[in-house]
């Protein structure tokens, strides 16, 4: 896949939940190498928007289009919950999510990169919230995917981890990955922003 074909188009996207309008008129075109930060108050629909993008939520109006059908194999989605089973060790968790995501790479190296060296065989139940988040984030240090959709990746991450994650996101974008994430933390200067407020959406590119 050439990275330049990679594109996400939203047109007049609109979503209601429990008879309440979450957002409307969300229109944007996101391309390879761009970083999109999605902001908004609690309950503004950030998570729902991401779930619509990755195909987990089907109740919306408008158009959501990835470049073609291969988007699924290029997608790396990290949800609100880290997706870490407490019965398993970080290494087992990561191996499974990699197999599921058809992602190659060295899980041990990725765990070291996120500072979990020495914890790879500890059941995840004994890890802190931040460490569990790091297990999920370790996927960002494996084979690079074309699209990253990250829901609150900075939750429970310490200062050093935030800086490290910033660098990793920036580096992936430079290499041609399209990154969309929700957080109040801004990765860098070149970040495009989609702000959801009171049902309206504002794009600051």
């Amino acid at each position: 896949m050439s990275d330049t074909t990679l594109r996400l188009t939203l047109e007049q996207l609109q979503c209601e939940r429990d008879d309440r309008e979450l957002f409307r008129d969300v229109s944007l075109t996101a391309r390879a190498g761009e970083i999109w930060q999605i902001t908004g108050a609690n309950g503004a629909g950030k998570t729902t928007l991401l779930r619509i993008l990755v195909g987990l939520h089907g109740f919306y109006e408008g158009r959501r289009e990835w470049w073609d059908e291969s988007w699924r194999s290029e997608l790396l989605y990290l949800g609100h919950q880290p997706g870490v089973r407490e019965e398993l060790t970080p290494l087992e968790n990561l191996r499974f999510t990699c197999a599921l995501g058809a992602q190659s790479g060295d899980p041990m190296a990725a765990l070291s990169a996120v500072g979990l060296r020495g914890f790879e065989d500890v059941p995840a139940a004994h890890l802190s919230a931040g460490q569990k988040r790091r297990v999920a984030l370790a996927r960002l240090w494996l084979e690079r995917k074309g699209v990253w959709v990250l829901d609150e990746p900075y939750t429970a991450i310490d200062q050093d981890g935030v800086a490290q994650l910033d660098a990793q996101i920036q580096q992936a974008a430079d290499a041609g990955t399209l990154v969309l994430y929700t957080s109040h933390h801004q990765v860098g200067d070149g970040v495009r922003r989609l702000h959801l407020a009171k049902g309206r959406a504002e794009v600051r590119a």
Partner: protein, 221 residues
């Protein structure tokens, strides 16, 4: 590849939470051992009710084990990973069902001859008892998993699960208990076993697809 990874993961997860394995088995053994105490220890009475008791207990034990089948995966976010993966959802779902049956259904099959013996069933039908459960419990697991997938988003979906799933369990129950009764009476067994086998073939082939679809619906599609 993804199937093997999913299967070994599911086995590992279950293995590390032994209560999930022991509870249904313990339930099965306990319910069956209470019947002789409550009804009558007379061999002829026990032999009469044994097929039904064995099968109702097995059915409830399987249902008990299915309530939380996807809940932990949903709470931890693993389910979202499953649904957004490029691997078709039915692949890890099938692995999960297989692992679940191997560690919760198969033990029921393995202890059933002992319990059947305790219920005074003649030794010559013990093979049929095992065979009927071997064909029947996987079907129960798959059918129950459909209900479990549909109720995963709801808090306390237990009763709803039972309401959804019990009607679908009835054919399996009728033929499962029926084949043991036929064997006790000395009638021809293969025909009824074949029907059980057909039910298993139907549920095992189409069930995982329905489970995958149920999970998608529960997630909001």
């Amino acid at each position: 590849m993804a199937f093997r990874a999913a299967l070994s993961r599911e086995l590992l997860v279950l293995w590390r939470s032994p209560a999930e394995i022991i509870n249904p088995l313990f339930f099965f053994v306990m319910v069956i051992s209470l019947f002789p105490l409550a009804i009558s220890p007379r061999p002829e009475t026990l032999a009469l009710i044994a097929p039904g008791v064995l099968w109702v207990a097995a059915l409830l034990a399987v249902m008990l084990s299915l309530d939380g089948l996807f809940r932990r995966d949903q709470e931890s976010g693993v389910l979202e990973q499953l649904l957004t993966s490029p691997v078709m959802t039915v692949v890890p779902v099938t692995a999960k069902l297989l692992a679940h049956w191997l560690l919760t259904g198969l033990p029921l099959v393995l202890v059933s001859p002992v319990l059947a013996h305790m219920l005074q069933l003649p030794d010559r039908v013990l093979g049929v008892v095992m065979l009927s459960l071997l064909l029947g419990t996987p079907a129960l697991t798959v059918i129950g998993a459909i209900g479990s997938a549909l109720t995963v988003g709801l808090n306390r979906g237990g009763i709803l699960l039972a309401v959804l799933v019990l009607p679908l369990y009835i054919p399996v129950l009728i033929f499962g208990a029926g084949v043991i009764r036929t064997a006790v009476e000395g009638g021809p067994v293969p025909g009824v076993l074949a029907i059980l086998g057909a039910l298993l073939a139907l549920t095992a082939s189409l069930g995982p697809l329905a489970v995958a679809a149920g999970l998608k619906i529960s997630s909001g599609n």
